[in-house]
């Protein structure tokens, strides 16, 4: 039996980027906010000590920062004809846990989506005609646009101190930046990162081919920065223990390095950690959220009543909580009805490896977002007429730091063990680099999220079931874009080029990307979306669901910057619209 706690103004679920941003904004508004986080409180000083943070076995191999599958697993299948099985080890993606969430172990690449991404279906239809749209795709507009989003992107850039070089300032193209980006209202808060040898060589080659290379926008900071909350970050040291690790140098922006030190000082904020929300509670009409029920680490259940409920966990947990709480109608791919679980998308990860004889890249130098990229083959920056697919990818060289266990590049044909393998890894370690292409993932009718009928978690609740496979559209796109990357690679003069476009069926074993998006998407139509453009649920006006779960499809960019911008957008809507007139902000 749940013990009932005193009412709060707001309960926030999850203290990653989205939850921390919203809790901070709403406490600024004077509201009494409690945040419930399923994992531990994490703190740079205690948890990411410089003497122990660079531990590949602990963080990369044993995945200490990810949620334990025993606590929260998912089941997976490629299509509805299969029976899903649970993932017992994280492979394809890395859901986080604890304060900071996946934002602790992220790479830090902080793109904004393109202006056309927010009205993708309309844009492509207008340009190429409805007939050109591949039949399998269920693309949708977001119900918002660049003009609405830009101020929130800028807010996030300032909060996180993002390093980079603007390519488009108020409509004026800037030398050295990404000329394809949407017009920014201001330059990046901190200057671009210095570039190691690999990205430098890539940029030179790309420039010679007529492309416009730019420094990858980075949440690993190039210089010391104090954000508007007064929290200070330091310059990245290129230590190489970055993606999958917490940052010991206060250099990688995360909720714990930018928001929580200020938030936790506020008397109207409370964090409840190691406590997992079981469900959002609704009144009898099902149109008003009354709070949440959570279970603490001792197994005690607590009911936390609140006037406003903000669900801001990872994509998987956002959707699962909505399914478990009965918010929205579950999506059914057969009848193509329902919204909760709809338009689940991923990211199409492609790569090209370059083996040199005469180069030393000092591959141990790096960081998750240190690098140079080009955008000529992303979005609709190239003409898709007659290509038979839409979408594209962000092409870039971002050496994350080649750690000794995981980074043993060898050319194809090398044995997987033994003396030949050893000599090849010795030869290749310093002289190998790769070019990545983080590419779009477009929605189909079949790819979706639902509750698993068989497998449950330790509390007896159904696990979330992922039904996903790569659409034909995305595989064609992967082939095309990876071939373009291969051309650049060959221009760099390596001994051998190995192209690795995404092929075949989605496989959960090799890590690809943690960019799982959609399932509770934003839009203009309640029959095909779950939340309006303010991230407010259509059916329950005092319930906001925030995060990458709101993306109707995923462009060829990393999602964190947009997820965080949406958090600012939702907070702004609550502060300036909802509190003045509680109720539906967009008529259904």
């Amino acid at each position: 039996m749940a013990m009932k706690l005193p009412r709060k103004d707001v309960v926030v679920i999850g203290l990653g980027w989205a939850g921390a941003i919203i809790a901070n904004e709403l406490t600024d508004e004077g509201l009494d906010v409690v945040a419930v986080e399923r994992g531990p409180w994490r703190d740079t000083a205690r948890d990411f000590n410089i003497a122990t943070a660079a531990d590949e076995l602990r963080y990369n191999q044993r995945q200490e920062l990810m949620v334990r599958p025993a606590q929260s697993a998912i089941t997976v299948r490629n299509n509805i004809s299969q029976t899903a099985l649970p993932m017992r080890n994280w492979g394809s993606f890395h859901p986080g846990n604890g304060t900071g969430g996946a934002g602790n172990h992220w790479a830090g690449i902080t793109f904004r989506f393109g202006p056309d991404d927010f009205r993708l279906k309309s844009y492509l239809t207008e340009k190429y005609g409805a007939a050109a749209m591949p039949e399998e795709l269920t693309l949708q507009d977001w119900g918002t646009d660049w003009a609405e989003m830009e101020p929130y992107y800028a807010s996030f850039d300032r909060l996180a101190g993002i390093s980079g070089k603007a390519g488009n300032l108020n409509g004026v193209i800037q030398e050295g930046g990404n000329p394809f980006e949407g017009p920014r209202s201001e330059e990046y808060p901190t200057k671009p990162m210095k570039q190691p040898y690999g990205p430098t060589l890539f940029a030179e080659a790309a420039r010679k081919l007529g492309y416009k290379p730019f420094p990858v926008p980075s949440a690993l900071l190039s210089e010391a920065y104090t954000n508007p909350l007064g929290v200070t970050m330091g310059p990245c040291t290129f230590c190489g223990f970055c993606t999958n690790y917490g940052c010991a140098n206060y250099s990688k922006a995360s909720a714990i390095t930018t928001v929580l030190p200020a938030l936790v000082r506020k008397s109207n904020f409370t964090a409840v950690t190691n406590s997992e929300v079981l469900r959002v509670t609704l009144d009898r009409s099902g149109t008003r959220a009354t709070g949440v029920v959570y279970v603490d680490s001792s197994g005690q259940e607590w009911e936390q009543p609140a006037d406003l409920v903000v669900v801001s966990a990872f994509t998987f947990e956002n959707v699962r909580l909505m399914l478990l709480s009965g918010v929205g109608k579950p999506y059914d791919p057969v009848s193509n009805t329902g919204t909760t679980g709809r338009n689940y998308c991923y990211q199409t990860a492609n790569g090209v490896q370059l083996f040199f004889d005469d180069k030393n890249f000092n591959s141990f130098i790096g960081g998750g977002a240190v690098g140079m990229g080009i955008d000529e083959f992303n979005n609709d920056n190239f003409d898709h007429s007659g290509l038979g697919f839409f979408g594209g990818g962000s092409i870039r060289v971002t050496p994350i730091g080649a750690a000794p266990i995981a980074s043993r590049p060898t050319p194809p044909g090398t044995p997987r063990w033994g003396s030949k393998w050893k000599s090849e890894t010795q030869k290749a370690y310093l002289s190998t680099m790769s070019i990545g292409c983080e590419a779009s993932s477009y929605a189909t009718r079949g790819n979706h999220l639902s509750l698993d009928p068989t497998y449950t978690d330790r509390l007896g609740r159904p696990l979330l079931r992922v039904t996903f496979d790569f659409p034909e559209n995305d595989l064609k796109m992967a082939q095309y874009c990876t071939s373009r990357v291969g051309e650049i690679a060959r221009a760099m003069g390596p001994r051998q080029v190995v192209e690795r476009p995404m092929k075949g069926h989605w496989n959960t074993v090799p890590y690809q990307s943690s960019h799982v998006v959609g399932g509770f998407v934003m839009g203009t139509n309640p029959t095909t979306s779950s939340v309006n453009k303010y991230l407010q649920t259509w059916d329950v006006p005092n319930l906001f669901v925030v995060g990458a779960s709101a993306f109707p499809q995923n462009p060829g960019y990393n999602p964190t910057g947009t997820a965080a911008a949406l958090a600012f957008k939702a907070a702004d809507a609550i502060r300036n619209l909802y509190l003045k007139a509680p109720g539906a902000l967009v008529p259904a």
């Binding site: 003497a51 330091g234 040291t237 230590c239 030190p261």
Partner: protein, 407 residues
């Protein structure tokens, strides 16, 4: 203040059973008393972590043994509920408690004697408004013979000069306000002034640095080498108010002082204190010559620094403002005593936090992977590089502090 509010206050005090005559209970006086309690950081010794405000119980380790901060809530049995203002005044100005027994110098009456009677009255009025907390505290936990309070009579003869602060007519009001705070309620000298064998202040060496509980409370005089002479008044104010300036970040016991006390001082008081401290003469002796870069200790220390320290404090010792302290030309680094430096290398440390600087960065502990000799060489290198000049650190000093830090 409105009549209604005054009435309400009168009712509240009436209910707690504490009645005052005249204007001692007026809001302005009580509020001034609250501020004075912050200025004096009374909570440091009288509010236990997690305990009720001013209910006592904070242990204070002295070279002579343990003393414990008293309960100063208005509880009649275990606090100061049955004290009169005169008795409170006598405790502050003479170190003599109700009942006539002598207080130990850990209650810094040697400084509080400078506090004006009017300020004591305000402080007392404030303390009387606190919730009375029944909490018996055995303040005197010293071993024999120091537990004999009669010995304090002789101690006072040697180490105590009674009397309110007398303004220096040759100085302006700001300087005098600074002196009044530093020498009086803020009792800076309790930690920062070198002590004689009896634990009294060494004559003529006010605020020139002193080791307390394994930490160096550094020289805070206007000495340009080991003191804060190079800091501007604004930088000194920033340190006290925000906990950090472009040189340094408060950690250890000073972090607590900033968090509980100086971050809440008025800007005028901060400025006054800065003005006063910068005017103080430091030690007259010339700084020592730095060691040659070729000295084997310097060579070894440099290698360790570049490997372990330069990632944060950077190769030139400049640090990162607000995050990693600047080591070049840092007063703390240039103090003759290296206790705090050894301590933070061995045990690590965490910066204090304020609303202005909430980050709270930390220095990791290196006791587990640097030997005594490594720590000594490292600090010797830091203390003779980038314009720094301070005596080399002895291996024995590291060994001794390591022993003290072992649980």
């Amino acid at each position: 203040m409105s009549r209604t509010a005054l009435l309400a206050l009168a009712v509240v005090t009436g209910l707690t059973g504490t009645a005052f005559a005249g204007d001692q209970t007026d809001f302005v006086t009580v509020e001034r008393g609250r501020y004075l309690a912050v200025l004096g950081d009374c909570a440091a010794c009288h509010t236990a972590p997690g305990g009720k405000p001013f209910a006592g119980g904070v242990p204070i380790e002295t070279p002579f043994g343990r003393l414990v901060g008293a309960n100063i809530t208005p509880d009649r049995e275990t606090g100061i509920g049955d004290w009169s203002l005169d008795e409170f005044q006598r405790a502050m100005s003479e170190g003599v408690a109700k009942g006539g027994y002598h207080l130990y110098g850990a209650m810094p009456y040697t400084a509080y004697t400078k506090v004006t009677a009017a300020d004591n009255a305000a402080l007392f009025a404030y303390l009387k408004t606190l919730d009375p907390v029944h909490n018996e505290v055995e303040t005197n936990q010293l071993p024999f013979p120091f537990n004999i309070r009669l010995s304090l009579f002789g101690w006072n003869l040697l180490n105590f000069t009674k009397g309110e602060y007398v303004p220096d007519p040759k100085r302006d009001a700001e300087w005098n306000r600074g002196a009044y705070i530093v020498e009086g309620l803020a009792h800076c000298g309790t930690c920062h002034t070198p002590k004689n064998a009896l634990g009294g202040d060494k004559a003529g060496e006010a605020l020139r640095g002193n080791v307390v509980d394994g930490w160096l409370a550094p020289d805070i005089t206007g000495n340009g080498h080991a003191g804060i002479g190079k800091w501007t008044a604004d930088e000194l104010v920033a340190y006290m108010k925000d906990g950090a300036n472009r040189y340094d970040i408060a950690s250890g016991p000073m972090a607590e002082v900033v968090e509980k006390s100086s971050s809440q001082w008025t800007d005028a008081d901060l400025k006054a204190v800065a003005t006063y401290l910068k005017s103080l003469d430091g030690a007259p002796a010339a700084p020592p010559a730095p060691l040659a870069a070729t000295d084997p200790r310097m060579v070894a220390g440099r290698a360790i620094y570049e490997d372990r320290c330069s990632g944060c404090h950077v190769g030139t010792g400049e640090g990162i403002t607000g995050l990693f302290p600047k080591l070049a030309a840092a007063p703390l680094v240039n103090n003759a005593d290296a206790s705090s430096l050894i301590r933070v290398v061995l045990a690590g440390s965490r910066a204090g936090t304020t609303d202005a600087r909430p980050t709270g960065p930390s220095m990791p502990a290196f006791a587990w992977n640097l030997k005594d000799e490594d720590v000594a060489n490292l600090l010797t290198y830091v203390r003779s590089s980038w314009g720094n000049a301070a005596p080399p650190v002895k291996v024995e000093a590291v060994h001794e502090l390591r022993g003290e830090l072992q649980p």
